[in-house]
Symmetry: C3
Amino acid sequence: MVLTAVLDYVGVATFAMGSTVRARDRRLDLVSAALLGTVAGIGGGTLRDLALDRPVFWLQAPGYLYVCVGAATLMWFVGAGPRRRQTLLFLDALGISAFAVVGALIARDEGVVAPVAVVMGILTATCGGILRDVLAGERAVLVRKDVYVSVAMLSALVFVVAVELGLPQVPAAIAGAAVGTVLRVLAITRRWQLPPPPRT
Amino acid sequence: MVLTAVLDYVGVATFAMGSTVRARDRRLDLVSAALLGTVAGIGGGTLRDLALDRPVFWLQAPGYLYVCVGAATLMWFVGAGPRRRQTLLFLDALGISAFAVVGALIARDEGVVAPVAVVMGILTATCGGILRDVLAGERAVLVRKDVYVSVAMLSALVFVVAVELGLPQVPAAIAGAAVGTVLRVLAITRRWQLPPPPRT
Amino acid sequence: MVLTAVLDYVGVATFAMGSTVRARDRRLDLVSAALLGTVAGIGGGTLRDLALDRPVFWLQAPGYLYVCVGAATLMWFVGAGPRRRQTLLFLDALGISAFAVVGALIARDEGVVAPVAVVMGILTATCGGILRDVLAGERAVLVRKDVYVSVAMLSALVFVVAVELGLPQVPAAIAGAAVGTVLRVLAITRRWQLPPPPRT
């Protein structure tokens, strides 16, 4: 499916570049930066494929590896000023949402029930970044207070519900990715946070 | 087998609830708490299934996901005072032991030799909590000084040895879970620790 | 293939022992030390096998587990003075290079293209140590400044290129392992580091 391939490559490249900007801020060398970028780019999809017991996607399509290493290397050399960081943040919003939709779509194709497809969307979208943070020894995204996992959940949910309601996959995927991207951008610009637990 | 299903659900729910109490203490939002609870509940079994190359257990039985999310959500709203924490600590002891037995039992059914079955028991019982700690950026259970991995090892060992000696699976499973639970409770109440390495 | 089995066991034992020396320095108990040593010894190969969707190597060859637990236990009791640490550091250089070659060799046998085989070599050689560091809550090898991932990459690359050029596997494997070991030893003794990113 052309749409998912496009969404997938956008997500992979964006995650690898965003990851390299951080690695660069920490003055990491090119090899470490490229490795962390690759983990961020393909980590989530790898875990999804392992959990679904399907062939890991980049084994037969090494183009994903080249995109990760290429995007990370480029970004390592050129760096990113404030405007480029801004752009990356918005691309990242698209990346999360795209990954969530792709993950849910692939999971549905493997025949799992709808809630499991949503979980696979969340896993695809968030685990690359989580793995990258864990490997780099950074504070994992999970305990940061911004709306991130929720974006993945919403994108996957919109897609799965739309398909269950009879919408074809392409408009459902576009709807899921769009809703998630908008939510993420709003969450960033308006500094939205989820509420803390009630005091008892 | 009914017994292992019961042990399994008890373990999953307990791990998810215990994890949520901690997440709540750190003032994490509901989505993060539910995700960490789910990781704690199903993480160990997921790794076991991946290593044994069998279908990941919650793909076909999404009830495990509902239990995790439900237990975590409930606990996030109601919280836990000292008495409930006490109860959870004892349920957790049962959960570790139950997971260790279930892991070893499943591994034996897949035809591995006894020592590998014990390792699978340890992996099933400990990896959920370890993953949760790693994701949450907490000090991992491995380098804390309490008796935890040893409990999993003992439970799996008792079960495997009992079965190898000819005992049927049900009494062997009960024996393994009981011995581990007792050891863990004793270790907590008497503050048992394993000795440090000898000075040389 | 006898050569890869030898390389593999050397790598596994070395990684388990090196890991235990560190665990001992942190005064960890025997169970934690043995578990971390086992993770360091077999973690990389396990991830490689999962990614390639082949049976996890130690399931059918539990000798690897015995070597890990045995080597870790021995080292935990006897400890390591300066000279033994020196020896371990050099054995570790051989271990990284050997794992990288074995990983690339196995990946090629599974029919992946050359760049993916190199990635599998890197993954095999580095993920055991990375997992160990993450579990132990130590600063992961990725963000340390010494030449480590590069050694794995070079070993795998030399092997894959040599085989693609028509060399038989045994001399190609020896060449890859030798080049990596020499690079690592030079990097340690001369304190080589990769350069930081350019300022922009």
